[in-house]
């Protein structure tokens, strides 16, 4: 084979590296999109028998977004194969133990269940935050578009815009507004509860 043909073959089947930001992204819709890239279905050379998938780095998996009921309703089943070894965990519990697990499980179940799946999963690199190793980040040559727009929080708007936003009514001066820290307090409480139960 001539060198020209060899390098062309090499280039056609070269694996590119993609990065995906899971911040405020639905894990189910994200999994559908990421599986395309992992299986190589975005390429015109795709064939189910050829292992032509790409590498995907996912960051901010800790900050995925689901509707409230999903955090409670999405369940993860596990059985240790011993009597009484069955356990069920809710999404919020799973997510607190391992912030990458929900996305990983969802992608695993979305991929086609064949012998290639293990290899495809090995090309998925999940990170709870944005701290991707430098060597891995150097490989990245393209980015996957997010599946849903990231909502802006109140802090994202500049103060001038917040002040100038039209209001229907003004709060009375004696009215005490909640400081918005209620959820944080609840979370801390739950964390303490869990750590206590672990100790016991």
């Amino acid at each position: 084979m001539h060198d020209r043909r060899r390098v062309l073959q090499w280039a056609t089947f070269a694996r590119s590296w993609w990065i995906f930001d899971a911040n405020h992204q639905c894990p189910f819709q994200s999994a559908n999109r990421l599986c395309l890239f992992l299986e190589g279905k975005h390429k015109p050379i795709y064939h189910p028998l050829s292992d032509c998938g790409d590498h995907v780095i996912v960051i901010n998996t800790k900050h995925i977004a689901m509707p409230d009921r999903f955090w409670r309703a999405w369940r993860h089943f596990h059985h240790t194969q011993y009597a009484g070894g069955f356990q069920v965990q809710r999404a919020w519990q799973v997510h607190r133990e391992d912030p990458t697990k929900i996305l990983k499980k969802q992608i695993y179940s979305t991929l086609t269940g064949n012998l290639l799946r293990k290899g495809l999963m090995a090309r998925l690199h999940l990170f709870p935050e944005e701290d991707v190793p430098e060597g891995m980040l150097r490989n990245v040559s393209n980015q996957i578009r997010q599946v849903m727009p990231v909502p802006k929080t109140l802090e994202d708007y500049p103060i001038e815009e917040r002040e100038s936003f039209p209001r229907v009514f003004e709060w009375p001066e004696e009215y005490v507004v909640k400081d918005g820290k209620e959820f944080e307090r609840q979370k801390e409480y739950l964390d303490e509860d869990l750590s206590l139960s672990k100790l016991q």
Partner: protein
């Protein structure tokens, strides 16, 4: 799956036939027949009436008539690619014989086996083979990943907020 078990080949021609000038691939035709038996009657008919015309119409084919006493008649075609095709023509009429001769004349001599592809090309790609960088978005050299501004999800519909803000802008511009 059953097709896997039978012999197969790719489409090809001898000496790139048809590119320069067309060359009839039938090189030699031998008609073997018997002078006495009944099963060679159609062949004998054909030799008396149609063979000279056939040879005249196809001067590039060397035609031989060979007597084989008390053997069943056959057409033996030899092709330029070195292959031979034998068609037994016992009890066949002269008209049918002519059709078989026509079939032999228009063939290239390759085996009649399954074709894996219905097309053959020497230039599979003209605009270049696909690679991961084909039609890829070009980034400036100092571009760093991840960049979330460029890769936000498409907004296909306006949200309620967007509609309200648009209406508000409209109304304020009207009042101005």
């Amino acid at each position: 799956m059953t097709n896997r078990g039978i012999p197969s080949a790719f489409l090809r021609t001898t000496l790139h036939n048809g590119i320069g000038r067309y060359v009839c691939q039938l090189q030699r035709l031998t008609i073997k027949f018997c002078k006495e038996q009944k099963q060679s009657r159609g062949v004998r008919d054909f030799i008396e009436n149609g063979l000279v015309d056939f040879a005249k119409n196809n001067p590039s084919v060397a035609v031989y008539a060979q007597v084989k006493r008390h053997r069943s008649p056959a057409l033996v075609a030899e092709y330029l690619n070195g292959k031979t095709h034998i068609i037994p023509v016992a009890e066949k009429e002269a008209a049918e014989l002519l059709e078989w001769l026509d079939f032999l004349r228009t063939r290239s001599g390759e085996d009649l086996i399954r074709m894996r592809k219905s097309q053959h090309t020497f230039s599979p790609s003209i605009q270049g083979a696909w690679t991961p960088v084909t039609n890829k978005q070009v980034f400036p050299p100092d571009f760093t990943f991840p960049n979330n501004e460029l890769f936000q999800a498409h907004k296909f519909t306006e949200s309620a907020t967007d509609i309200l803000q648009r209406l508000a802008r409209k109304s304020t511009s009207k009042t101005d």
